[in-house]
Assembly symmetry: C2
Homo-oligomer: 354 residues x 2
């Protein structure tokens, strides 16, 4: 920290991303990446010609990608805004819809970035504890005069709530924005998308990082009523209008258009998830019911921190959070069948060595 | 604007980027892009293998690109931070070094985004008028208790100030950050880089958008003392840590490493600039002395707005700003020789038609 940093900035608590070892020597199950490369159409879309046009600015409105998403979700262009990853859309939404007299509410166990953005914008946070079994009960949010952010399915637990619950929240106070972070929705979860035309206070945030194998391409988007989307666009144009580069736009279009590949990848993750849950349960784990591309597991006898450390030393990276209530769980990304077999074999070896 | 937008966000005045027609039917001299494709090494660097790894997150620290830049500028890693274009670095710097009791100072005629970020962060702005002939005199900034932002060379004028002037500003108050926006430095300007090790209150911001033909790739960076850089990194990790995608990192490395191509491109722009200035002067233009990849020109008789409009109808896009003091100038990007010949021929036709 320099002596130049303002007091406002010195109180920030930056986010800690999962480890990203650049040597790739690990079986990497710690940051919820897809085990599959992007669609072959993405490889084709990033053509030599496209690369040679990098001297030109991208379209700040990302028209082609907006159109592709509008076709895919049966929405209008005005319902869609693109971000440099869904993190950027969430950051813009916090800036647009929270402020003085308008706190942000989120649960005590959820995506760790919500509290970071709350500090970034000096917002009052209402932190709502999950109930037993990491259950989110919307009754706990019903009367809050706040912008509500819900990760559905939740991270790092993988649990989802029914969209009827979101609907109750939306109806209870039509002047309150509900942000549903659907980063992990494509692995069997139920999206709020059908509610979009009925509630203008709903903002859905999705990403191509997980289900469309584009974590390295940074493509996220917000879906909502035209008024909400124009608000986010206002923030985008006050911060960094050219937020998506040309190649990410091209990659995004190709990824959305290859629905067969998308279904194959997400289908595989769901099948491998079932297998992994069974295998872990046989090894004495309790696994939170997950509709995400990760599972949240605790072992009957072996502490999670020790498991994380031993797995790491054996070449398998999972994520462990040093935080109350969840520090005896590991979050394990669902990778390929081969990766999960290595995980299970390694766990067997570790647990036998007890 | 929705009824959900906070009062703080409703007062924002978003930036208006230059027109980006996506049909590319224009001779496009309005957004200071390079007329050259990126280095052939960039095309090679964005390989099929690299694209197939887009399922993995990028390195948030952009280690490879930081290393390449450190080698190029003879700096240490701790002196460098990467952004999604230099706009993002500037936005982070405003957030880090300006706030309550610490206004931001910039000139009345300069990059239009400074005032937008000032509003985004609710900062007090000290707007310092340029002197006659668009001259920036650092004496006007000497006694300001503010974070100072200077575009050098300035946009949209193309004028530069000597680094001895920047040095005077840095020395006058060592507790004041001076941000030098060197987006256009590579076309004959004098960079502040030699001052970097001597003044820990200097932040230099550069971009690969212009001189390295990567406007579509979004690669900008801040250079400064380790403490300043760690402050900006703090903001980055509080906003969007994965701000550079994998392909932009790869493109940036390749672009920095191809110095021969860089020198050929920037050399061409400088030569074509000289030719264009002479040609325009013969047509009755007065051109502000420029060390950038654009020129700022006014005609003796023909109003700039009319010139801009007529040029556009003839298929040549230049930039005209509807703002006091500069609304009788056009900003014209230096393109290829062929493009500038078309510009000059078109102007001849327009002016003959008087």
């Amino acid at each position: 920290m320099s002596r130049f940093l303002t007091a406002e900035a010195s109180i920030l608590s930056p986010y800690t991303p999962g480890e990203q070892p650049q040597d790739q020597q690990y079986v990497k199950l710690n940051t919820n990446e897809s085990p599959f490369p992007p669609s072959p159409r993405v490889v084709k879309a990033i053509s030599k010609g496209e690369i040679q046009r990098l001297n030109l600015y991208p379209d700040p409105d990302c028209t082609k990608l907006v159109t592709a998403l509008a076709n895919y979700y049966d929405l209008k262009s005005e319902n869609i805004v693109l971000g440099n990853g869904s993190d950027e859309i969430l950051a813009f939404a916090f800036r647009a819809f929270c402020g003085k007299g308008k706190p942000v509410a989120y649960s005590d166990i959820t995506y760790g970035f919500y509290k970071v953005w709350a500090k970034l914008y000096d917002l009052e946070s209402i932190v709502v504890p999950l109930r037993d079994g990491f259950e989110l009960n919307v009754d706990d949010y019903m009367d809050l005069d706040a912008t509500i952010v819900i990760a559905n399915p939740n991270a790092p637990t993988g649990r989802q709530i029914p969209i009827a619950d979101i609907q109750r929240l939306l109806e209870k106070d039509p002047d309150r924005v509900v942000i549903v972070d659907e980063a992990y929705i494509d692995f069997g979860g139920e999206s709020c998308l059908p509610l979009l035309y009925r509630y203008d206070n709903l903002l859905i945030v999705q990403t191509m990082s997980k289900s469309r194998s584009l974590a390295g391409g940074r493509v996220g988007y917000g879906l909502g009523s035209p008024a909400l989307i124009s608000d986010i666009t206002r923030i985008k144009y006050s911060f960094n209008p050219y937020n998506l580069n040309r190649l990410s736009i091209a990659a995004g279009v190709a990824a959305v258009e290859d629905d067969t590949y998308f279904k194959a990848c997400t289908g595989s993750v769901m099948a491998v998830r079932s297998w992994t849950v069974s295998a872990l349960e046989e090894l004495g784990f309790t696994v939170v019911p997950s509709v995400a591309n990760f599972i949240f597991a605790t072992h009957d006898t072996k502490p999670a921190k020790e498991l994380y450390q031993t797995l790491k030393s054996e070449g398998v990276l999972v994520r462990w959070f040093d935080a109350p209530k969840i520090d005896n769980h590991c979050r394990i990304t669902i990778g390929s069948m081969e990766q999960m077999e290595i995980l299970v074999e390694t766990l067997e070896r570790i647990l036998e060595g007890e």
